[in-house]
Amino acid sequence: MEARIVNKGQLSELLDKLAKDYDLIAPIQEETVTLFRKISGAKDAFLEYTNSDISPKGCFLPQNEKTLSYMYTGDTLEIDKPEGAKKTVLFGARPCDIKAILTLDPVFEGEKFGDEYYSSKRESTVIIGLSCSKVLSTCFCYAFEGGPCDGTGSDLLFTEIGDKYYVEVNTEKGKALADAYSQIFSSQGADQLAKDKEELAKKLAGEFVRKVDLTGVKELLDKNFELAYWSGDDQKKCIGCGTCTYVCPTCHCFDIFDYTTGDFNGDRLRCWDSCMYPEYTLCAGGHNPRPTRKERVRNRFMHKLKYHLDRYNMVGCVGCGRCVKKCPVNIDITKIINDLKEVAQNA
């Protein structure tokens, strides 16, 4: 694998150049919250974060997305589709969040249900990852074969080593970008930093405090849709908000509706939705197959730990820890995994 070096002093120059040549999406800080937004240059970027409050999944699946506009003029109905995505660079995404994008890919790029809106953005985006330099108490990416310095899914992965970034070139797309800015991406001396990166990865791997063991969990859920466990405290304390699903980098449910602005003119929108909301599964006629919080809580964790695996052979969780951190009542997926493992053992 190829590697390059970027001096930290040149990062601003790189980001300014990228912002000029591409739509540049990078972490920013708004008040106390870190989130990903399109930026106009290095001055807007905020890279001193460990885990952003909101993941960059919105680059590919925005919370609000116009899928078409319709205009009825009296004789004709005109339908306009938005243009394809612009050339984009997603800079500074953490390894867990990049892995999360890989869990979205088969949902939106499968043969059966290809999604042009997603694919267009995915194809025109170069993902530049940024290794973590810290492990939080809520982090558990290691449990899903991830790691704080794991480059899986990134086109380029930056790892901070002293006053330099060690840059791994993981794809042709990444190589093309590094070559285009060859005055910043230097090839000299990269090999020496490879060892430093390995050491950092090893050091950080030892810093996880959350023990997560998935042994037997999938098998248990395969055999048992109904489990007494789901009637326990988690569904009692869940307040039914959508926080866990909206901060989750792998949750991808959406709703489609028409927003009519004039007489017969309007937009068809696709917006994030949450399986925690009662009306999410509400059917015409009033039937709701997930009538209470018990079914809704179960569904969320079944989706993460079973359904996504069944469909795509990937766990639907990447261990970013956002739901653990943000849940108002401390519902914790790592506790649920460990509890289910115990249920499986005692079954």
Partner: protein
């Protein structure tokens, strides 16, 4: 705090053993050292799950409406601020007094768990906590820590009207003095000083961040509508789309819907994943209700008249 925990467990056990209640809702150790989580205990053996300390932020009165049609009685552990919710729920006929056993615990402030967690060695486990007046000591298996209240308290606890429960059937722990680290309406006054354009810009920036996860609504103890107007599909007052206009409609409607009922527990502020200072909206309303109608914070006494539901000839009529 160990004696309070011990007494809590004893009292809860007694209530369950004597079948005075079928369920005790209290605080249990959470999955982070500096967090607790709501626990629902239905047998005397379960009471060892109960805990107490400076990490009991949640307002558990919220859960009472979940059980209003369940058979049997419910005991709930409340702090001073949470106990205002109980008065409010009673006045709103949301719960019946004879179904609820209120276990009040005087509280000397709750710490912001993220701030505490940032200081403590990851993976450490909690041994005990102690209140030293202006700070809390937190003993862990990885060392002892001290947290000054003025720096580590939840924002809402810097000003506390009721450290002691305003309504309870049994009180555990000793009475706490009122202690404020800030002026209650300082932030609201600062906002009031802004021009209309500045205020607009301030709130536009806050509301445009909103994800509409509805955590603020769902955690609110006085949001008790069975079907919220924002969940209605027909008519769809706000869509699933997030934008400034619909986000603003949501937050302002909510703020006014709980006006005169909001007990200022500050849970909306605490749970917002986007750190939108939602409590300021309701604090402005509290301030105005106080200034205009000399109305106390809702829930501070049972049977308080609703300031917006009652007319008296002396009410100001500056808009007429």
């Amino acid at each position: 705090m160990m004696d309070v925990i011990q007494q809590l467990r004893e009292q809860a056990k007694k209530l369950l053993e004597e079948k005075k209640v079928d369920l005790v809702i209290g605080f249990g150790q959470g999955t982070e050292l500096a967090r607790t989580t709501p626990v629902f205990i239905d047998s005397p053996e379960g009471v060892s799950k109960l805990t107490w300390g400076p990490f009991c932020a949640n307002n558990l009165a919220k859960y009472l409406t979940d059980y209003k049609n369940a058979p049997g009685n419910i005991a709930v552990v409340v702090k001073g601020c949470d106990s205002r919710s109980i008065n409010r729920l009673l006045d709103d006929n949301q719960i019946s007094r004879d179904k609820v056993v209120i276990i009040g615990v005087p509280c000397s402030g709750q710490l912001e768990w993220q701030k505490v967690a940032a200081e403590i060695k990851p993976g450490a486990s909690l041994k005990e906590t102690a209140d030293n007046g202006d700070s809390f000591s937190v003993k862990t298996d990885a060392g002892d820590y001290k947290f000054d209240k003025k720096d580590y308290l939840l924002h809402r606890c810097l000003v506390c009207e009721n450290p002691n429960p305003v309504v309870s059937d049994l009180t555990i722990g000793k009475e706490q003095p009122v202690k404020n680290y800030e002026d209650r309406f300082a932030e609201v006054q600062a906002l009031e000083q802004m021009s209309t354009e500045e205020k607009n810009a301030y709130w536009d920036k806050q509301f445009s961040r909103c994800l509409r996860c509805y955590a603020c609504r769902n955690v609110c103890s006085v949001c008790t509508c069975q079907i919220c107007v924002f969940d209605q599909m027909l008519p769809m007052w706000v869509s699933k789309r997030t934008n400034l206009s619909e986000n603003t409609a949501f937050h302002l409607t909510r703020a006014f819907h709980v006006a005169g009922r909001c007990v200022d527990c500050g849970e909306c502020d605490r749970v917002c994943p986007m750190d939108i200072p939602l409590r300021k909206l309701n604090q402005k309303i509290h301030k105005d209700l106080g200034d205009l109608f000399e109305s106390p914070t809702p829930g501070t006494k049972p049977g308080l008249a609703s300031p917006l539901g009652e007319f008296s000839p002396g009410d100001p009529e500056e808009f007429m």
